[in-house]
Every structure is written in C-alpha cells, then in structure tokens.
Subunit: 355 residues, 2 copies
C-alpha cells in the first residue's frame, strides 16, 4: 500500500496520462510521466517527467529510481520495455493484461476461453489464411492487425468482390485476424476496477457512438435492459479476475439486435475515453479509481450522479470552446494540445442531467 507523497510512474503522456496525473495529485501523490514525445500533455501536470525513447535503458532506469509503482495510459508498450521496468518496480495492470490486450488473437482466444462471447474470428498470417477465413466466416468481414490498432487504424473491411490480397496489403501484410461481421445494435463499454485483494467495482454501463471509427458520444446509462447490464458487468469481472487484474479495465462490447447477445469487441487495460464522464458523473472518477487500485488503496464509490453524456472534441470541434464554456451545466475539458489536427482528440465536454 502506497503512502500519500509516493510517486506514481505513468508510461505515456497523452490526455489519459494527464488526467491520471491530475487525479494522483488530488490524492497527494506525485506523478512522473515517461513519454518519447516532446510537449506531451501530461508533462504539464506532473511533478516530473522524462522525455526519452522506449528503448533508452538509462532513462528507463532513471524513471524506475524515481517512482514507487508504474502504470500506463496505453497498452502498446514494447515488450522489452515492460520487461526492463518489471524487473525493477511493480507494474499495474500486470503482464498478463498487457500481453493479452496487445494481441487481438490472444485477446479473443482468452475472452472466448472464459465462456464470454466474441465475434467469430480466425488467425491470418497470409493471403491463403485470409481466403480460408473468408470462406469460413463469410463476407463482409473485418481484417485487423493483431497489434497496434486503435481508432480504426490497422483494419479494413472486406466486402463481396474485394480482393483478399489487396486487403492483406492494405494492413501492411502484418499478422492479423479476420473477424466475422457482427450486425450489432449498440456498442457499450464497461469501465471497472479490480484491486490486488480481488475487490471489484464497475461504473454504470456506457453506450458509445463512433464517428469515423473514433468515439464521438458516450451516454450513461446505456439504453439496454437491466439483465443485459448485469451480464456485461459479469463478463468484465470474469475477465478482470482471470487476468488477476489491478487497475481500471475497459471492456467494449456489441449488443446484438436480439437485445440479449453480448459480444466482447475489445479489452483495454487502462482508463478509457468512454469513462471520461465519471469525472463529473460519478462519486469517484475512473482516474481516481485507477490510482486507488494501483496504489493498493480501497476502491472508491462508483455511484452515478445523474444521466451523463460525454462528447469528444475532435480536431476543429475545439473551436466551440467558448460556446461550451457559456453553456450552463456543461463541463469543458481541454487537453492542452497545441495543434488541432483532423482526428486528434483535443478535449471533451460532459453534461450531467437529472435522472
């Protein structure tokens, strides 16, 4: 159990690391942020930071010397970096969660092994695999790289008549999986936390709408029946327990048109964009909850404080900042990014409405 005044090391300096560092500060902790990118948003709110490459062992050793525990804002940390760090300081969430989430094939196989539904999938290491998989799963289907995909990157949809070879080329001929197309009705996510003692707490189920493969709006509670919500939380808990998970875990799921079937789409071993509403909308935010779990502290109260919507401000959306500031009840969050590039998450706005 960490004491106030301890230092939490955060790998990755984007907005998730930034909001995590702010939550840590609220609890009297220091944050040290490690990120290769100059001007990382999280640097600005951390007691210290290290700007260095993932393979810079001197910098990594310095980082380890400064921190009491290590966590991360994104799961694609190189394996060698993880191994170097874990030999020196506790890392949470742990290796099992990281390895599982870094590889879509491992992730799907693992989730399915728990008896939790996933979209039909097949391993694809080449065009022949892909043709066989298309035969089996039908079209349309989605070809996804096993590693390093996010926000729709590293994936391509294969429709009737599309060439398997062209699709495989489009994802850079990387090791991949093919996923059967799922005619889903809604996308939901469960943001939950598990502590080292096995304590588990979930926020209310979120419903997510994407635009151009990027999260656009999250609404809480999700408009799905109570039993389905319970099933979704139970699936998240089964995953967290099986991973001996410590920290905040995000599980994205599809709800099929029958209103009963849940399929896990993706797990993320971290705080998540669809959980940003918890800053104003829950007694404990996902960032505070993550800090609590990682420090070995009791988990916080996940009670919701109203109906919540969280809308991302992507690229030029940030131009509305003045209007949002003037809107009663709207909570504006900006991430301090200098340049509003298309597709870049610049901030978000949360609105809490009475039940």
């Amino acid at each position: 159990m960490l004491q106030p005044g301890a230092t939490i090391g955060i790998l990755g300096g984007g907005q998730l690391g930034r909001m995590m560092a702010i939550a840590a500060a609220g609890y009297g902790l220091k944050a040290c942020v490690y990120c290769p990118d100059a001007g990382s948003p999280a640097f600005e709110v951390a007691a210290s930071h290290i700007q260095a490459a993932w393979d810079d062992e001197a910098a990594l050793a310095d980082f380890c010397a400064r921190v009491d525990v290590i966590t991360y804002e994104f799961e694609n940390i190189p394996a060698a970096t993880v191994a170097f760090l874990m030999a020196r300081k506790p890392l949470a969430p742990g290796l099992k969660a990281l390895e599982t989430s870094q590889d879509r094939l491992a992730e799907k196989t693992f989730v399915a092994s728990l008896g939790v539904g996933v979209a039909p999938f097949a391993r694809v290491d080449g065009v022949a695999d892909l043709e066989a998989a298309l035969e089996k799963l039908g079209r349309p289907a989605i070809l996804k790289t096993r590693r390093f995909g996010y926000d729709g990157k590293g994936q391509v949809r294969i429709n009737d008549g599309d060439s398997a070879a062209a699709a495989f080329a489009a994802i850079g001929q990387a090791p991949a999986i093919l996923e059967g197309f799922v005619p889903f009705d809604r996308e939901i996510s469960v943001i939950s936390a598990r502590s080292a003692t096995g304590e588990f707490a979930a926020f209310d189920v979120c419903e997510n709408v994407h635009r151009h493969h990027i999260l656009d709006v999250t609404t809480v509670p999700a408009a799905v029946p109570g039993p389905l919500r319970q099933k979704a939380v139970a699936a998240a808990r089964a995953i967290a327990d099986a991973l001996e998970y410590v920290g905040v875990l995000t599980v994205e799921m599809f709800v099929l048109a029958d209103g009963e079937t849940l399929l896990v789409n993706e797990t993320a071993p971290r705080v998540h964009n669809s959980g940003h509403w918890t800053i104003e909308g829950a007694r404990t935010s996902q960032f505070q909850q993550h800090v609590r779990a990682v420090c070995g502290w009791p988990l916080g109260d996940t009670s919701r404080l109203g109906r919540a919507t969280m809308t991302n401000l992507i690229g030029d959306d940030i131009d509305a900042w003045r209007a949002i500031l003037a809107e009663p009840g709207a909570s504006l969050h900006l991430y301090g990014k200098a340049e509003a590039r298309p597709g870049r998450k610049m901030g978000h706005v949360t609105r809490i409405l009475p039940e």
Copy 2:
C-alpha cells in the same frame, strides 16, 4: 480573452495555487507558479515554476515573460512586487482589491463606506490610541495587526483587566486596529466571482466553524434564513462592484444573535478554504470559476449538487486518510505536503449528501 494554451501565472505555491493550477489544466491552460518556498505543493502540478524571492526582479521579469495573465493565491504580496508585475502583465484581481484586503483598516473603512455592516473598529498606532479605543469600544475587544494576519495570527483578545501595553506588545507593536467584540451566532462566507464585464455569480452561502482560529468545517447551505442569504450575497456583490473586481472574491461575515444583522469580518481577494466544497459540490468549482474570470471567460454555473460539508485535515488529522478513502461518498483531497506540522492544512474531505 485568453485562448486555451495560454499561460496563467500564479503567485504563491500552496494548496490554493495547486488546486488553481489543476483547474487551469482542465481548461487546457498552462500554469506557471511563482513562490519563494522550495517544494511548494503547486509546483508539482504546474507546467513550469519559478522558485525565487518576492524582490528578485530578474526572476519576476522571467515570470512576466512566461505568462499571459497573473493571479495569486494569497493577498500579502509585497507592494513593490505587485508594482513591478503590473507594469508588465495584467493582474487580476486588481490593485484596488489587493490594497484593500492587505490592510484591515482600509478594508473596514471601505466596506463600511458601502453601507455594509462591520464590527465597530478604531485605528491603533500606539498604546495611547489603544487605551482610547478600549474606552470607546469596551471590553472584550480584539486587537489585530493591520497587515499580514491569517488563521488567528497577529491578533490578541483584550479582556477586563488586561494591560493595553502588554496587548500591543503581543502583536509586535505593529500598526493595528481594535475591533469591538461581536457576540455572533454564526460565521458565514460568500464565495462569489465577478468578471471584467461586470458579470457576477455567487455560490450558495457557506457556514463555517473554526477550531483554534483555523477553519474546521464548512457546511453548505448555511442554516440561515433565505433573506439573510440574499443580503449576504448582495453585500458581496456591492463589494465586488465597488472594487471593479475580477476573479473569485471571498467575504466572511458574522451573523448576530438577532438572526438579521450581518457584519463583514474579512474579505479575501481569492479562492478560499470555505469554498473547497465546490470541487464536488457545485457544477463549477471555485478554482474553475476563478480561472474563467481571470481569463476573461464567461462565468460558470454555480448550482449546488447537494448539501455539502468540507472538513479540513489539519496536522495529524491526515492520519485518517485510509479510513476516509474507504468511506463511501467521501472525497479525499491531499495537498502533497511532506510534513504534518501542528496547525498545517494537509488536506480536506468533502461529503455531499442528498438535499
């Protein structure tokens, strides 16, 4: 009107500056904190900081070069420092508010000139003044230094039989005022904000209980009748307007036993301990509100989200941190101070209850 990405300069690096810097970061602003004290709590959450003396003109010039607007977490900034800074960058709240609040005599005279009640007072520059004032105001009475008093420091109570000379010696023979003893029923405070355009917004009136001259518990709303609350807010507004105030203003008042009479005890041109409950208890926190006003942005929604209590964690009170973390609905705030000295504000806990 400042743009997101601008830098707000904060004079003073304690917990108020720390929470102000965190609020600024939430709006995508950078904070630069100036404070003479090594290891200042606000340094840890600011994009940059300068640790230098108040009369270090090279450091002050560097500070001015880094920031777009200057504000402060405490009012006792030396006049020469203020003059140096104001010649280079906008300062909010402005000089009138600073000068008034730095001198208890000027403050009382100013407030009384607005037709707002204050305790009876008299100027004391020596023992002869003090004896005359005691004759006029009676005993008990409170002798207070005109400058640099806070948390009960720089003041002494004079009871029947006490020596005027001894009392004047006890406050270091500094220029002072004598205040007539006020048999008050309750202490309340109004945290309000005014923008450069004259926009004004107040949070609900707070009721404060002190222990050893330090704020112990704030409860909101104050248990005083509606008309009295309106009168308190009107007094705060009159003061803010007369000062052409920009930022969050705190006005502490006594409610006399008749339940009708309000006397202003003190004004503070800044965010205030009795406003910490707004972080969880209002749509906009006092820190966000202050940042908005100082940046020339529209003021935020001050709606309250429930009944609130805020309890300070002073000195060893911080030892309860684990129990507070485990208490459902309690929001723990720690300020990152290394050493829990007696009387030192280490953190606070806010509890929001249904109306």
